[in-house]
Symmetry: C2
Subunit: 195 residues, 2 copies
C-alpha cells in the first residue's frame, strides 16, 4: 500500500483485489504542483485525473463574459479532474489550480480504461464515481433552488469544514455564485447580528 490516500478514496467504492491495487499503483505517477500552478488548464486534453495527496485545488470555469466561477474545491483524498469533459472526450473547459503547494497521484484515463478491461472491479468503481459526482451536483442544484446566498454559505462550511482557512474568500464567493463584495457584506452583517 504505497499510497494510503488512494486506498482510502477507492476502497469504499467496491472490493478491489490486492493484485489490482498493485496494477493500479504501477500506472500512477506522483507529481507535485506548486501553489498557483495548474494541474489542468482550459484547452488541455481531459485525458488524466488524479487523487490529491496533499494540498487544495480549485476547479474554475471561465465564462464567455470572462467571469470566473468556481465549480468545486478538492482536498486530500479527493478525485481531481475535468470529469464532464473526460466523459465527453472534449478539451477541458475547466482550469484546475493549486491553492497551496500540492502533491497528486496522476492516472491517464487511457490507462484506467485498460484497468477496466482487465478486471470488472474497476467498472464498478467507475460507476460509483459517476454516482457520487451526480449526488454532489444534485445537492448543489438543490442549494441554488432553495437557499439564499447566506444559507449557502453556512451549508458550505458545514460540508467542507476542512477548507477553513485554506481557500481565499473570493473563491468561496465564486463558488456560492456571488461576488466577494456580497460575501464580505454577509459576513459583517452576521458579525453585527451576533454582536
Amino acid at each position: 500500500m504505497r499510497f494510503p490516500k488512494l486506498y482510502e478514496q477507492l476502497s469504499p467504492l467496491g472490493p478491489i483485489p490486492e493484485s489490482e491495487w498493485e496494477r493500479a499503483e504501477s500506472l500512477a505517477r506522483e507529481q507535485s504542483v506548486e501553489r498557483k500552478a495548474h494541474f489542468l488548464r482550459p484547452g488541455d486534453a481531459a485525458d488524466r485525473f488524479a487523487v490529491v495527496l496533499q494540498g487544495v485545488f480549485r476547479l474554475v470555469r471561465v465564462s464567455a463574459r470572462g467571469g470566473e466561477s468556481v465549480k468545486a474545491f478538492r482536498a486530500e483524498g479527493e478525485l481531481l479532474g475535468a470529469y464532464a469533459e473526460m466523459l465527453q472526450r472534449m478539451p477541458s473547459m475547466t482550469a484546475i489550480e493549486a491553492l497551496e503547494p500540492a502533491r497528486v497521484l496522476v492516472f491517464r484515463t487511457q490507462d484506467f480504461q485498460t484497468l477496466e478491461e482487465g478486471h470488472g472491479c474497476w467498472v464498478r468503481v467507475a460507476r460509483r464515481v459517476a454516482e457520487r459526482h451526480f449526488l454532489l451536483k444534485e445537492r448543489r442544484e438543490q442549494e441554488f433552488l432553495e437557499l439564499s446566498a447566506e444559507e449557502r454559505l453556512d451549508t458550505f462550511w458545514a460540508e467542507h469544514p476542512h477548507l477553513r482557512g485554506r481557500v481565499p474568500q473570493r473563491d468561496v464567493a465564486a463558488y456560492l455564485g456571488i461576488t466577494e463584495v456580497a460575501l464580505s457584506r454577509i459576513m459583517s452583517r452576521r458579525r453585527k447580528r451576533t454582536e
Copy 2:
C-alpha cells in the same frame, strides 16, 4: 420490440443483445398515470423507475419552508425516477407528478439489479445513466453560476423545445429558481423590448 421508446432510450447507452431485451420487457409493467396524479410521492420508497411512453412529468422537491422547486421535467423517452434517493436507498424526497394524462413503463429497481447480475451489458447501461445524470446536473450548476434568470429562461427553451405549451409557467419559474411573478415580469419586459 414491444416498446420502441424503451429501445430508443437505452440502446444508445451500449449494445444489448436480443435475449436481454426480452428479459427486460418481461419485467416491465405498463402503467397509466392521470393528469395531476403521482408516479411517486414524497415518503414513498424509491424502489422503481420508468421510461415515459406518453406525457410530461414534473419532479418536485418540497423544501423545509414549504416552497416547491422543480428539479426537472421528463417527457416521452426519458427516464423517470427519484434517482438520487434510489442510489442512496432512501425514501423519496421528490414528488413525480404527471402534467398530462400519461403512460409509463415501470421497472422495479430490484428487478433491474437481477438483470445486472445476469448480464454485464446492464452494468454498462447503469453507468451511462449515472454519467448522463451527472452531465445534466453539471450543466444546470453552470447555468446557476453564470446566467441571469432571463438567460436561464432562454437556455431552458433552447434545451427543451418539446415542452413548449406543455408545462405551466409557474413550473417553469420554479425550475429556474424564481417566482411566477418574476417570470411574468421577464416575459413582459422582453415583449416591450422587441415592441
